[in-house]
């Protein structure tokens, strides 16, 4: 029989449909995704810097000039952004309808110059550099207090929303704290009052003791397939050191996280035939905003990352109810993801 499982923090329900449990091979694409031809133009490739807006940051070889070749990681603003920088004027309203101008920041982090080299193919030190750049950009954007939330994410593969296969991540900053972020903050605050401790720290302790959904654990990070996983082979990556802010991670933590990401993304690739996925950073809103709106957030929120493979379709039932149907129990997924192939 299937199970209804509740995500403690967000209150979201998931149907774990174990009676139609699938194996990783069941998700192998019938026709392998057509790779972009080598001749296809890519605005993110080395040599095409003139096709992007001027870089806001880059790790470069010494002696090279901005917006020219010789870079290792490059950050550029979105050329045709959905949200544009600027101070947000107050919200407007007409009757019950509210709106505000599309103010925000949208940047693209080109993770390496090689079109075919995915994040998991990079050296651990290079992945650490990408993570460090996430931190630098978050810190720079959060200096402007208009930006209440900074979202870092990566879409890999067309089905996950990537329009180019050249490996890249994105940063978007919004002048409001998004609803899902608020739900997570309020949920963790509520559970802190009940449990008298951070729900994420408690989850890590219980998951480690149970050892049913544990994928990997080292001295700084823990990776699990969440109890109420929405997607087959979904993973959550938690630092063992409690902190609400990703930007608080030090060099050693970032180096460890880089190694963990390389391992779990490689395992996902080999276990489930290189699926499309979304990598999402969950962190507390802009610290200045957080301290005012959620006093005590340092105690109850815990930054983490989610890896969400896109292996099922979100359709009418999911949109209508907010329920997800997951045909692979997270315990089964963890079993596969623990194996090094």
């Amino acid at each position: 029989m299937s199970e209804l499982r509740k995500d403690l923090v967000t209150g979201r329900w998931v149907i774990i449909a174990s009676e139609r449990s699938k194996r990783p091979d069941d998700f192998r694409p019938v026709t392998p995704e057509k790779k972009e031809g080598g001749s296809r133009f890519c605005p993110f490739c080395m040599g095409n810097e003139s096709k992007t807006p001027p870089e806001v940051f880059a790790l470069r070889e010494s002696g090279t000039v901005p917006d020219g070749p010789g870079w290792k990681v490059r950050v550029v603003p979105n050329k045709f952004p959905a949200l544009s920088p600027g101070a947000p004027p107050p919200k407007s309203a007409k009757g019950i309808f509210q709106w505000m101008p599309g103010v925000g920041v949208h940047e693209v982090i080109i993770e390496n110059p090689d079109h075919g080299k995915e994040l998991s193919d990079l050296e651990t030190a290079h992945i650490r550099d990408v993570l460090r750049i996430y931190q630098k950009r978050i810190n720079a954007i959060e200096e402007d207090l208009h930006y209440q939330y900074v979202q870092v994410f990566k879409n890999k593969g067309k089905e996950a929303g990537a329009s180019l296969s050249h490996p890249h991540s994105q940063i978007m900053a919004t002048p409001i704290v998004p609803k899902r972020v608020k739900e997570e903050v309020y949920g963790s605050e509520r559970l802190f009052r009940t449990l008298k401790e951070c729900v994420f720290c408690r989850t890590l302790r219980e998951e480690t003791a149970l050892n049913e959904r544990l994928v990997l654990r080292n001295d700084r990070f823990c990776v699990i397939t969440p109890f109420a996983s929405r997607s087959p082979f979904e993973m959550a990556i938690y630092p063992l050191r409690h902190s609400p802010f990703f930007t608080s991670a030090g060099d050693e933590e970032l180096a460890s996280l880089a190694g963990v990401l390389k391992t779990v993304l490689t395992r996902l690739k080999t276990t489930v035939s290189d699926p499309p996925f979304n990598l999402i950073l969950h962190q507390a809103p802009n610290p200045t905003v957080s301290q005012k709106a959620w006093p005590g957030i340092e105690q109850y929120f815990h930054w983490h990352m989610e890896v969400l493979p896109v292996l099922t379709k979100v359709a009418g039932f999911e949109w209508g109810t907010g329920f997800y149907i997951n045909p692979v129990p997270p315990e089964t997924a963890a079993g596969y993801l623990r194996e090094d192939k």
Partner: protein, 117 residues
């Protein structure tokens, strides 16, 4: 006289753009699909390309990708009725993205900006 290649499948729009841009002093050649645009680029030189995205056959995003293989130096303006193609990073191969409107002021301003004397 500066030459513009206009790639647009809707004939009335072609006529309107030809008239308006000719009045600004440009020579405009219109084609109605991507393959005709690629043929034109092989045979003639242009100072600017204006392309629609939704067209029969290859779309405008695929077209600009192929133009990059032929000529990277010609500025390109995407002129579409849809904002949503901005999410496709291949559109970065273009120099401007102008959403179609009843006023051609923005399009004309971008043409003036990108066609150098």
């Amino acid at each position: 006289m500066k030459k513009i290649l206009l790639v647009e499948d809707e004939l009335p729009l072609c006529l309107l753009y030809e008239e308006e841009l000719s009045a600004e002093g440009y020579e405009v050649m219109s084609v109605h699909d991507a393959d005709s645009a690629l043929d034109a680029l092989k045979n003639k030189t242009f100072d600017l390309i204006i392309t629609d995205i939704r067209m029969p056959g290859k779309d405008g995003v695929e077209l600009i990708g192929q133009i990059m293989g032929l000529r990277k130096d010609i500025p390109i303006i995407i002129n579409t009725a849809y904002q949503s193609y901005k999410e496709d990073f291949m559109t970065w191969a273009a120099d401007a993205y102008v959403v179609k409107s009843s006023s051609l002021a923005e399009l004309k301003a971008k043409v003036r900006e990108l066609v150098k004397d």
